[in-house]
Amino acid sequence: MTRTRESRAAPGVPDHVIETTDLTKVYGKGDGNRRQSYAVRALRGVSITVDRVEFVAIMGPSGSGKSTLMNLLGCLDRPTDGTYLLEGEDVSRLNKEKLAGIRNRRIGFIFQSYNLLPRLAAAKNVMLPLMYNGHQNLSEEEMLERAVAALESVGLGDRIGHRPSELSGGQQQRVAIARALVNGPSLVLADEPTGNLDSRSGDEIMALLRQLHQDGATIVMVTHSAHDASNAERIIALRDGRVIDGDFDVEAAGPLESVTAREGGGR
C-alpha cells in the first residue's frame, strides 16, 4: 500500500490531504434529499486540515455533526456551503458521477458494520472497488492478484475464499480494511471501526490501522472510544456542528477524559 501512496505524492501536490473551509451542512429546507419541515444545521462552519500521513480521530457527542462531517469528507454528500479541498482539488461542487469516481480512487471506507456482501468470498469483496475503477481497466486476474495482496497485507492471506459468514468479526473488518486499501486511496476514512467488535478484536484492528499509518496511510477515524482515539496522533473534537478543539495532542498528555466527558455517555 505504501508504494502506491508514495507514487501519488508527486511534486506540486499539497501536503494537506484534507482542507475544509467553513463547511456548512443544513438538512431540511433547501435540501431535496431529506423531507423535513424544519432546517437542521448539522455543521456550522467547520474548517479543518489533515496533513499527508496523519492519523486523526474525530470525536464528539451525538448530534455534534461528526457523521455529517464524515459523509462530506467521504464525498458521499455535498456541503450546503463552504469548500472542501481533497489533495488540493475542490470536490465540494462535483456532481454525483464525479463524486463516485473520487470515492472509488481516493477514499477507502471502513464501516462500523463492515458492509461486506455476504454472498461474495473475501477476495471478491475486496475486488469490488477495482471493478468500479474505470481508470485502470484491470483484467479479472490482475484484480484478483491485487485483492489477494491486499488481504495478505491485513493478515488474511489464508482466507481469500471464505465468505463473510465464515469469518469472525475481526476478520470481517480486516477484509473491509483490505477493500479500503485496494485502490491505493489518498485517504482512509474509518467510521467507528471497532464499534461492533469485542475489545481484543478491536485492539487488533486498531493495531492494524496504526501499522497502516506507519506505512504511510492518511487516516481519519470517527470514534466514541477514547481508548481507540488514543491511537491517533491528533483529535478533532466537535460539538454542535463546530470544532471545539482542532488540535488535541494525544501525545502531550493523558487527559482524554476532558474530551470524552463532553460526550455524555455516547449515542
Binding site: N33, N71, G74, L76, D77, K96, E97, A100, G101, R103, N104, R105, F109, F111, N115, L117, R119, L128, P129, M131, Y132, N133, G134, N137, R179, N183
Partner: protein
C-alpha cells in the same frame, strides 16, 4: 464498471434467488410462447385456406348461370344452364390468356375391379382441360381427351387411392372396371393430391363428361347443361381481361346482352376475401391475448425488481460508497430485468415452437410457426425488460448513498 462486468454482477444477483427469478420469468415465458403459438395457429389457418384455394386450381374463374328475375323461363327453375359443348368451346376458342376450360358433373356409384368393390365412390365427369384447370396431373397413362368426350368413350382415370384399393400392385392401364352397371377401361391414374375443401381428390374416378350425361341421372338442368364452367387464366394479371372476354364471348354465344348476361363470373378472390376477414378477426383476438400476457409478464418483472431494489438497498449504498456511479447501478438493475425477460424469451420461444408443433400433431388445428415470430418475440421480450426494468433501475440509481448505507 464495464458492461460485461456489470452483466456478470447482474447475473450473480439473479442466481441469488433462483426460484424467484424463475417464477418472474414465467410471465414472460407464457407471453412469448403465447405470441408464437397464436401466430402459428393463425398462420396455419391461413395456409390451410390458401392451400385449398390453390388446390382448387390457380387463377380460377367460375362461370355460373344467373338466376333470372321473374323466374318464368327455363321451366320455372329461374336459370338456364350453360350449354355443353357449345359454351365451353366458345370460351376455349375465342378467349385469350387461358390455360383451359372445363366442367365437372359428378355422381356416386359403386366401383368394381379385380375382385374388389368400392362403394359410394365419387364419379366425376369432366373434359380434357381438367388437369390444367385444377392443376392436377396424370401420374400413369393419359387423361381423358376431347375425342373421348366426342365419342362418349367409356374410359376412366382413377384417383390415386382408388387405384391402390381397387387394383393394388397391378398395372392399372388397360384394366377393366365396372362403375355402377357400366364397363370402363382404365386409361390412367392421377397423381396424389389429397383432400381439397371437403373432397378427397384421390378417392374419385374421372370419366368423360358426355358419358356421365349419357349413362347416369345427373341432368340437373335438363339437357346436357352445366351449372358451373371452370376457366383457368394464365396468370393473376390477366384475370380481369379474361373475365371481360368471357362475358363478351358467352353473351354472343348465348345471344344475350353483355351488360345483362344470364350468367355470373366469380373468382377465387371473393372466396379468399371472405375467408381472410374471418381469420383476420381470429388473429387480432389471439394477438391481443398474447400481448396482454406479455404485459402482465412485464409487470411481474417490475414488481420483483422493485422488491429486489428495496431488499438490496444497503448493497446499493455500499456499491455507491465504493465508487459505483448512478449509471452503474442503473445498468446493473436494468440488465437484471433484461436478462430475466430474455431468458423468458428464449424459453418462451422454445415452448412456443414446441407447443405449436404439438398442437399441429395432436390437435385438429393446423399450425405453421412463422419464422418472423421468433425474432419478434425476442424483441418484444427485450422491450418488456427495458420498459418494465427502467423504473426500478432508476429508483436504485437515485438512492442516496448515505440513506442506503443506513438502511436495515
Amino acid at each position: 464498471m464495464s458492461f460485461w462486468r456489470t452483466l456478470k454482477v447482474a447475473w450473480e444477483g439473479l442466481t441469488l434467488n433462483k426460484a424467484r427469478s424463475f417464477l418472474t420469468t414465467l410471465g414472460v415465458i407464457i407471453g412469448v410462447a403465447a405470441v408464437i403459438v397464436m401466430m402459428a395457429v393463425s398462420a396455419g389457418a391461413e395456409a390451410e385456406i390458401a392451400d385449398q384455394i390453390n388446390a382448387l386450381g390457380a387463377n380460377l374463374i367460375v362461370v355460373m348461370p344467373a338466376f333470372q328475375r321473374g323466374g318464368v323461363a327455363g321451366g320455372g327453375r329461374g336459370s338456364v344452364g350453360l350449354e355443353y359443348p357449345d359454351d365451353l368451346e366458345a370460351i376455349r376458342r375465342d378467349v385469350d390468356g387461358i390455360n383451359g376450360v372445363s366442367a365437372e358433373q359428378s355422381t356416386r356409384q359403386e366401383v368394381k375391379g379385380d375382385g374388389n368393390t368400392l362403394s359410394d365412390v365419387s364419379i366425376v365427369g369432366t373434359t380434357a382441360d381438367f388437369p390444367a384447370v385444377r392443376d392436377y396431373q396424370v401420374m400413369i397413362g393419359r387423361f381423358i381427351a376431347d375425342e373421348d368426350n366426342e365419342r362418349k368413350n367409356e374410359v376412366a382415370v382413377l384417383g390415386y387411392t382408388v387405384a391402390q384399393e381397387l387394383l393394388g400392385e397391378r398395372s392399372p392401364v388397360g384394366q377393366k372396371i365396372k362403375i355402377g352397371s357400366v364397363n370402363f377401361v382404365v386409361i390412367g391414374v392421377m397423381e396424389k393430391k389429397g383432400v381439397v375443401g371437403n373432397e378427397d381428390y384421390d378417392a374419385r374416378v374421372y370419366v368423360p363428361l358426355t358419358v356421365i350425361f349419357k349413362r347416369y341421372e345427373v341432368r340437373r338442368f335438363g339437357g346436357d347443361t352445366l351449372n358451373t364452367v371452370l376457366v383457368s387464366a394464365e396468370s393473376k394479371n390477366v384475370m380481369d381481361e379474361v373475365m371481360d372476354q368471357i362475358t363478351t364471348v358467352l353473351a354472343r354465344e348465348r345471344e344475350v346482352s353483355p351488360t345483362e348476361p344470364d350468367f355470373n363470373l366469380m373468382t377465387q378472390d371473393s372466396v379468399i376475401e371472405a375467408q381472410a376477414s374471418t381469420t383476420e378477426a381470429f388473429r387480432s383476438l389471439l394477438g391481443w391475448v398474447a400481448g396482454v400476457s406479455l404485459v402482465v409478464g412485464g409487470i411481474g418483472i417490475m414488481n420483483i425488481m422493485l422488491v429486489s431494489v428495496t431488499e438490496r438497498t444497503r448493497e446499493i449504498g455500499l456499491r455507491q460508497a465504493l465508487g459505483a456511479r448512478p449509471r452503474d447501478v442503473r445498468l446493473q438493475f436494468l440488465l437484471e430485468a433484461i436478462i430475466l425477460s430474455l431468458i423468458g424469451g428464449v424459453v418462451g420461444v422454445l415452448a412456443g415452437v414446441g407447443g405449436s408443433y404439438l398442437f399441429g400433431e395432436l390437435g385438429t388445428m393446423r399450425t405453421a410457426v412463422v419464422p418472423m415470430s421468433v425474432p419478434l418475440a425476442f424483441v418484444a421480450a427485450a422491450a418488456v425488460g427495458i420498459f418494465f426494468g427502467y423504473y426500478p433501475a432508476t429508483q436504485a440509481a437515485q438512492l442516496d448513498p448515505i440513506d442506503a448505507l443506513r438502511h436495515e
